[in-house]
């Protein structure tokens, strides 16, 4: 359970695809207590610029060895700095932060888009040997290198691309109704663009399948102290994405009517 600040040593750091990096850190204290859906808040340098930590999902954990793995896209200054770190360097990580996914499921369906697939990878592995089905979407074939990452940790993978270059042409929510036809899933987990999660949650609700989603927001503290990241719950109460989330029950935070 305990959260700490750890100096994670870079063990492995390489490109999975253009602008996508996979970073493995030796951080036993975080690895020991991390649950799927949680994240680490990472300092990308020692200087005051950039100043703030970067929230990054825990994508894999090796409890025995004491490693955590992050899969991230280089989008700006912070991730570019992180991308330059060679093995042997240290990375200051706060974590594990956030609540994590509820694991009470026998027949899970995971729906992800873009970097939203990172926390779902940890989830799929943690759910083993329960067979997870994964539905992933991307703009083009080039974005779906994720398929290789998920091979072996799930029962089956369904793919959609906006341009039809791989799998079904369209969005994940276009294919989802077919997957739900046989009612074989007892839980849906979604992480990706808000519009996608909204669509998934609506379909899940129509089928009466409980659905969890994972939110993103700009974060300063990461621990519920600064209120940078709050959102409105459907019950009128405020939620902090960093500490009440990032995982929520869909109906807790989304208007599904």
């Amino acid at each position: 359970m305990s959260k700490t600040v750890a100096q994670g040593i870079v063990i492995e750091h390489f490109s999975l695809a253009p602008m996508i990096k996979r970073l493995t850190l030796g951080a036993p204290a975080i690895a020991r207590s991390a649950r799927p859906g949680q994240f680490v808040h990472v300092r990308v340098g020692d200087s005051y610029h950039p100043l703030l930590r970067r929230p990054l999902s825990i994508a894999e954990v090796d409890r025995e060895v004491g490693n955590i793995t992050i899969i991230y896209r280089v989008v700006g200054q912070g991730t570019a700095l992180l991308a330059s770190l060679p093995p042997g360097e240290f990375v200051d990580c706060m974590g594990p932060l956030g609540n994590g996914f509820d694991m009470e499921t026998e027949r899970p369906l995971l729906v992800g888009g873009g970097m939203g697939l990172a926390p779902l990878l940890f989830l799929a592995k943690a759910l083993c040997p329960k067979p997870a089905t994964v539905l992933m979407g991307g703009r083009t074939k080039q974005e779906l290198w994720w398929r290789n990452v998920f091979l072996g940790v799930c029962r089956s993978i369904h793919v959609t691309t906006d341009d039809g270059s791989l799998g079904r042409k369209g969005f994940t929510i276009d294919l989802l109704p077919e997957l739900l036809e046989n009612c074989e899933y007892d839980r849906i987990y979604a992480c990706g663009p808000l519009r996608m999660m909204q669509g998934v949650a609506k379909l899940a609700k129509a089928q009466g399948i409980p659905c969890q989603i994972s939110f993103e927001d700009h974060m300063a503290c990461g621990v519920g102290a600064c209120l940078s990241c709050t959102c409105a719950g459907t019950d009128g109460k405020r939620r902090k994405v960093c500490s009440d989330g990032p995982v929520f029950w869909a109906e807790e935070v989304l208007d599904l009517s």
Partner: protein, 302 residues
């Protein structure tokens, strides 16, 4: 060696946490021993609950950050009933930052906070004054005095006035607060700024403008603390961009009797305790016995 007393509030160290950056304390309890902090200043509290601003609330800037949280808080009654009791198990003074939109609200907030467990009140005059068309209380001496007097009338607790740096002459505002009965002044609150997304031609922040904090504001904060400390008799609490013990010592030398750490908590959750330890080391290295020996000792008669 580093214990201080500010306006009757006894603190184990001269390092407090700045309002809005440390929640009400327990949020950080996994990372730092709250009992080792000088005082915890909790998030700005208003009479009614507030949802805060819509849209994006923070943006990073060179060596700093902008925020437009918009005073989201659960309201004073929820604070007293639900949050304050959870702080009783810690041996640390709790100072409540209060934000009113009218004079009466400031008075009412002070009255409702006359409860065990509150060590003092910090009057946030950076929030809008509704009767004056929404401009901040802190830009006008008479308005600051009115807010402080309303608080003073309704409490026996130590009153600290948190000054806004977005003014032409901060010294006169500090004096107005002191004359109105404030036991101490704290400064600086954030400096109003903005950033623009050049790809979308839009402000980055949902509220367009926000408050700048972090290392970028330190020279401005230090100058203001130095000016105010020379002009008022009451204790001055200095803040703005403090990241290290060296930064804190600068504020002490400029005349602050205590300091507060804000944005630094986001970068290093142990900052408030590590900075206090660093101040102690600084004193030991120089053969000094107490932190008061450096307060205001900058040699500025050049």
């Amino acid at each position: 060696m580093i214990a201080v007393e500010i306006a009757g509030i006894k603190m184990k160290t001269p390092v407090m946490t700045a309002s809005g950056t440390f929640g009400s304390g327990p949020e950080y309890a996994d990372f730092v021993d709250l009992n080792k902090i000088g005082a915890i200043v909790v998030k700005g509290t208003t009479l009614a609950p507030r949802d805060g601003n819509k849209g994006r609330r923070i943006a990073e800037t060179p060596a700093g950050m902008l925020n437009c949280i918009g005073l989201e808080n659960p309201g004073v009654d929820e604070f007293v009933g639900r949050i304050l009791p959870g702080l009783a198990r810690y041996d640390v003074p709790v100072i409540v930052n209060i934000a009113g939109f009218t004079v009466d609200e400031f008075g009412e907030l002070a009255a409702r906070l006359n409860v065990p467990g509150v060590a003092g009140l910090e009057v946030n005059v950076s929030c809008p004054n509704v009767k004056e068309g929404g401009i901040a209380w802190g830009v006008d001496c008479a308005n600051v005095a009115a807010a402080v007097k309303a608080v003073r009338r309704n409490t026996k607790l130590p009153v600290i006035t948190k000054l806004s740096p977005n003014v032409t002459d901060i010294v006169s505002v500090a004096k107005a607060a002191e004359d109105a009965g404030s036991d101490a002044v704290s400064l600086i609150n954030t400096l109003v700024g903005m950033t623009i997304d050049i790809h979308r031609w839009r402000p980055e922040l949902g509220n367009v403008t926000g408050g700048l904090s972090g290392p970028a504001v330190k020279p401005v904060a230090l100058r203001m603390v130095w000016q105010v400390a020379r002009a008022v008799k009451c204790p001055v609490i200095g803040m703005g961009g403090i990241m290290t013990a060296g930064d804190a010592v600068e504020f002490l030398l400029a005349g602050a009797r205590a300091v507060a750490v804000g944005t630094a908590n986001f970068v290093n959750p142990r900052a408030s305790v590590e900075i206090a330890e660093g101040i102690k080391d600084y004193l030991v290295e120089r053969g000094l016995r107490h932190v008061s020996e450096i307060v205001g000792k900058v040699n500025d008669n050049i």
